[in-house]
Amino acid sequence: MVWIILGVLLLVAISVIAMYNQLVSIRNEVKNAWAGIEVQLKRRYDLIPNLVETVKGYLTHERTVLENVIKARQQAIDVSGVKEQGKAENFLTQSLRSLFAVVENYPNLKANENIMALQEELTSTENKISFARNNYNDWAMNLNKAVEQFPTNIIAGTFGFKREDLFEIEDAVVREAPKVKF
């Protein structure tokens, strides 16, 4: 009789340990995924001053566009938190898009190898940021699932594991697909 009770207790102890370790593992993966996004963002931040320097000589009459890019970059560096960073990054992307739209009007600038290479790098980095966010979202989903599902939610509650926010588009205006008018 005693042996049965001891056996059951042992089983419970083992499952508690297993669940706790799984939660720890997923939480660390989430942190790793977040750091992965930071790596790609940093690459983007580093490329932008380079870009601004190269075009400054040509775009002497397009001061506002350049200044917007510089301001947006500084803002994105300073902010923290999933939602705020998402907003700041979107703002930076839009200002970069305006800059490249302006570059289209200067043909000798478009032919410049350096500009083309920088544009390619930036596009590639944007793709990587998007993929890194996907990865982060997947791991955040795993963490949320573990925190909310039974029986891991008991362990999560006891040891203080919390849900993580996903990258989402909050602004309804941004979410609506842009209407192209000719």
């Binding site: 790793n32 000798n108 410049n112 350096n114 590639s124 990587k128 993929f131 890194a132 990865n135």
Partner: protein, 501 residues
Amino acid sequence: MALTYTEIEQEKSIRIWTFFLVVLIFYFLIAAILGNLAKAFFALNGEAAGKASLFLSQKEFLYILLFALCAAVIHAAYSVSSAMPLIQRNLEAQNVDLSDKYHERFKRIVDEVNVATGNKYKITPIVIPTVAMNAFAISDNRRNAVIGVTEGLLSKLNRQQLEAVVAHECGHIVSGDSFQTTVGCALFGIYAAMLVGIGKVLRGGRIRSSGKGSGGSIILFLLIVYLVLNIMQFFYNLIRLFMSRDRELRADAIAVKLTRDPISLSEALYAISRGWRGLGYIDRNLESLFIINPARESVDEAEGFLPDLLSTHPPVSKRIAILAAMAHIDVKNIQEDVIAEEKLRDASRQIVGNERPRVMIINGEPVPPASPFSCPKCRQPLIDEEYEGAAVERCTFCEGVLVEKGRIPRIIIREEKGFTDRIKKMAVLTQKDGLRRMHDKAKAGATSYLKCPKCGQDMLRNFYTTVYLVEIDRCDMCNLIWFDKDELEVLQYLIENKKSG
């Protein structure tokens, strides 16, 4: 029927792991049966006939299992460590050439999708220089992996479709498919080798009878073993094929998870299934590495019980249907889009203007970069140019072009460039006149030769091949080929025309 990619991935993973467990149990079961047969043989024919039992004792059973385990671990470890270089050599794959526009884009895509997997693997991109369209992935147990695509694939798919194919291959890598396949092959390779050996003996060898056992009973024993192994091999093949098909579907699901884009993957699958996907002789075992079965058999594309049982890949139509359902669109839309894109690409082949000299801005003035080589005819510096995505060097005076030999297959496979009527006429003349020119050359004897821009030696002047009678100058020490004006275009046109018949 599971709809979302997470559900598909989970469901297939459970099935695959169950099958793999069955394979492992099978392996040990066969070892035990063979051991038992051997013991029975010796019990019936040996010295202690009648005294020993026909079946394995518990201790003997455990010993056999242990021995089988050791053999398995050793063989599997060896196979896994040698699989990657072996397969690469088999397929004649090449590293990416970063001066090439398409290769560079491919490398970027591999790096980007790697980020989506969390950078857990070091993935090396390689390219197979063939016009066929296919892709494969291998990995080892040390987090190194290789993703290979064909030149044909690079030239025919757009960026999103390439991303989807790369993501599918990454799916194989992160779920450890190649590792599992190699282990399975290694384990059953032992029995396959035994089958071959016994087959040889039974078919023609003489069996020396030694000791008390007569030749007849040895043959009987071998026959029984042969039968048992054959039956087990048959079941193993069935299981292996089940696993292979499930793996492809799981990789499709992971591809959608990584890119969130089922439409591009289905377009890519459809485009590949329309084109030629064969790669020459491919070992049966290697088939399951590829995104679409390289040995195009009608069995693969048919549906039904027997085809479902016997092919390594699920039918392409089924895979496209699953992906289309994820995107909530009709399969017809995908087919129409792919065909429309193909037509658009053919129609927009640019006759001029595709060659972009690489331009640098120095002191505000655009300056084309001069290469260190000079034109063998005009002695002026050559200019770096991008021709069909490959890096070549052109002389702005005589318009001749210097090309590295290894880049020519790529130029021929890619179809960015269109051809003027003048080129087409020249091509016809070249083929017609070629034989006469060959005779004239042989009669005339030595002519003055061009000097190689790199090493200064005389270049050999002959026809590109005896089929394509375009005259070129080649330096085989430096692997460089010099085309006079229009000759490269003519060669491209001739070969493309031949391809399409």
